[in-house]
């Protein structure tokens, strides 16, 4: 799995996954940037079922331009949104 660094352009995977998912739907398929690295944690999507959640996953703070998330967004171009996204939900922006 790719390791990201602050400033990297990333996209949230538009994957469907059954069960407990911590990547909200409104971010799927959206592009943004790595704002910071929050740490390494067991995967909560597995912990939710009593599994170990190992190996630990990197958690990233990802920034998105609001104008890129919503049609007709009300506000200036600099308005942004941050979400905490696990590495397995991210891919480099350029990737198909």
């Amino acid at each position: 799995m790719t390791s990201f660094h602050p400033g990297d352009r990333v996209r949230v995977r538009a994957a469907e996954k059954p069960g407990h998912v911590r990547a909200p739907d409104y971010l799927k398929g959206r592009s943004g940037w790595i704002s910071s690295i929050l740490g390494h944690f067991p995967n909560p999507e597995d912990l939710a079922y009593g599994l170990s959640g190992m190996p630990e996953r990197t958690l990233y703070r990802v920034g998105f331009r609001q104008s890129g998330l919503w049609d007709g967004y009300e506000g200036p171009a600099g308005d942004r949104l941050y979400a905490d996204v696990y590495e397995h939900w991210l891919e480099p922006e350029g990737e198909q």
Partner: protein, 99 residues
């Protein structure tokens, strides 16, 4: 296709800013969850998953969802049965209504 709990970006009306008085049973719901977590009997992630799986999620209030999810987990883990919870809840309701 997002889960019923995955609300970001959904349309919605004005935010109702009224505040209800927190009831003792709601304090208890908070405390039971916290205590079960402290004892390693359930985790935040398990509880979230249980809340998200409630078929009547949209019809329940916040602490109602918490309570329903706690019950679901306790039963799933074989710690309590639905029947004994039903029985005890009936007993309590009867006591409250003074019969």
């Amino acid at each position: 296709m997002s889960g019923v709990h995955d609300l970001g970006g959904s349309s919605g009306g004005p935010v109702d800013r009224s505040q209800h008085e927190v009831e003792d049973w709601e304090r208890l719901a908070d405390a039971i969850n916290s205590a079960l977590g402290g004892r390693g009997l359930q985790t935040t992630d398990q509880h979230r998953r249980a809340i998200e799986s409630l078929p009547n999620y949209r019809d329940l209030g916040y602490y109602e969802r918490w309570t329903a999810a706690t019950e679901k987990l306790l039963v799933e883990k074989g710690i309590l049965t639905s029947e004994e919870i039903d029985e005890k809840a009936d007993e309590i309701e009867r006591r409250w209504s003074g019969s």
